[in-house]
């Protein structure tokens, strides 16, 4: 049933572009707000630093995506054309992103990457991005500051959603890997986290 609902939502996205309906309603930020622009991101020697942004043109509405790790711990929240900065423990992690407010209409997307302490990773949603491809976006987009306490409370309120979403994201990642293996060339191979890791990050100020 859930897969069917995803199918409907996906079909509507593709067919209608800017459709309306439950799956396309706006979802506001619940534990993040626009903060001061960042011009420099320093690496944390004891953890990996993620700079996560999303573009605004693929979901048909303004939605706040919540990102967690595979253990359900909070990473952050982001809306189209914004970014946040978070740290995660070094090691291999599955990042899971979803819009829990949409319940069964929400995608549950996951991607597993290996992160090193002392490195900075720019992520376009779940995909590691080279600095040169992300630099202008980060310069133009809003910087979101995450309220961790409010975020933890939000996760608690949506715990049933995440219990179902995280394994689903894991399965989807497995399915995606199989799809890519079976359909070479359909999508460009995304870069690995290791290949785009940075020691420091300067976000250009407006000229």
């Amino acid at each position: 049933m859930i897969r069917y609902l995803f199918g409907l939502a996906a079909t509507a996205v593709l067919a209608g572009g800017c459709a309306s309906g439950v799956a396309f309603k706006d979802v506001d930020l619940s534990f993040a707000q626009v903060g001061l622009p960042m011009t420099h991101v320093a690496a944390n020697p004891r953890a990996a630093t993620l700079v996560v942004y999303i573009d605004g043109d693929y979901d048909g509405g303004k939605k706040a995506f919540t990102m967690v790790l595979e253990d359900g711990s909070l990473v952050g929240q982001v809306t189209p054309r914004s970014y946040f900065i978070a740290t995660v423990p070094a090691g291999e992690h599955q990042l899971v992103t979803a819009v829990p407010e949409l319940a069964g209409y929400s995608p549950c997307m996951g991607a597993t990457h290996r992160f090193e302490a002392g490195k900075i990773y720019i992520m376009k949603n779940l995909t590691p991005m080279p600095l040169e491809e992300a630099e202008r976006a980060l310069s133009l987009y809003s910087h979101l500051e995450i309220d961790s306490a409010a975020g933890a409370a939000h996760l608690g309120d949506e715990s049933e959603f995440w219990k179902e979403c995280i394994p689903r994201a894991k399965q989807l990642e497995v399915d995606n890997a199989k799809y890519l293996a079976d359909n070479p060339g359909v999508f460009p191979t995304p870069p690995t986290a290791q290949s785009v890791a940075l020691d420091h990050l300067d976000i250009p100020s407006p000229p």
Binding site: T11, G17, V34, D57, R81, S142, Y179, F187
Partner: protein, 150 residues
């Protein structure tokens, strides 16, 4: 990084979710709500008529300015609209690029083809500091007097 238009994918929706997961654009849909990214949490100035908003395609604005946000749209005119809606005196540092988005999918309800070409533009919305005014709208050229990000 757009999904390439030549993509032809199979009988299920796997590719869509894969695309979402890896961050590709699919529809090119950009609602009005998405057309502006504030640079700070400060309240926008009141909206103003588009005719009073100056478009500077090259170089910097001709006043001393503060950047208050970024505008996004499918044309430079759209950037001016967005800047006007958010009380900007102008928009500068603009960039436009063409991209091909969409895909062909075979679904249980038939073939869905959403391939098309979009123009995506962005630019920075600024306000002139008090005592400093932008001159005539829609001028091009390097007219640098220096500005500052908030």
């Amino acid at each position: 990084m757009p999904l390439r238009a030549s993509t032809s994918i199979g009988p299920n929706l796997q590719a869509l979710w894969l695309a979402l997961a890896i961050g590709f654009s699919l529809t090119g849909c950009a609602s009005a709500a998405l057309a502006y990214a504030p640079r700070t949490s400060e309240r926008d100035p009141p909206p103003k008529p588009q005719a009073q908003v100056k478009l500077t395609e090259l170089g910097k604005p001709s006043c001393d300015y503060d950047v208050i946000g970024s505008a996004f749209g499918t044309s430079l005119d759209r950037l001016v609209e967005v800047a006007a809606d958010h009380g900007g005196d102008g928009v500068y540092d603009t960039s436009c690029q063409l991209e091909r988005v969409g895909s062909v999918m075979n679904t249980s309800i038939g073939v869905i083809d959403t391939r098309h070409t979009n123009q995506r533009c962005d630019g920075r919305v600024y306000v002139c500091r008090s005592g400093s005014t932008a001159s005539s709208p829609k001028e091009s050229g390097d007219d640098s007097t220096g500005g500052k990000a908030r």
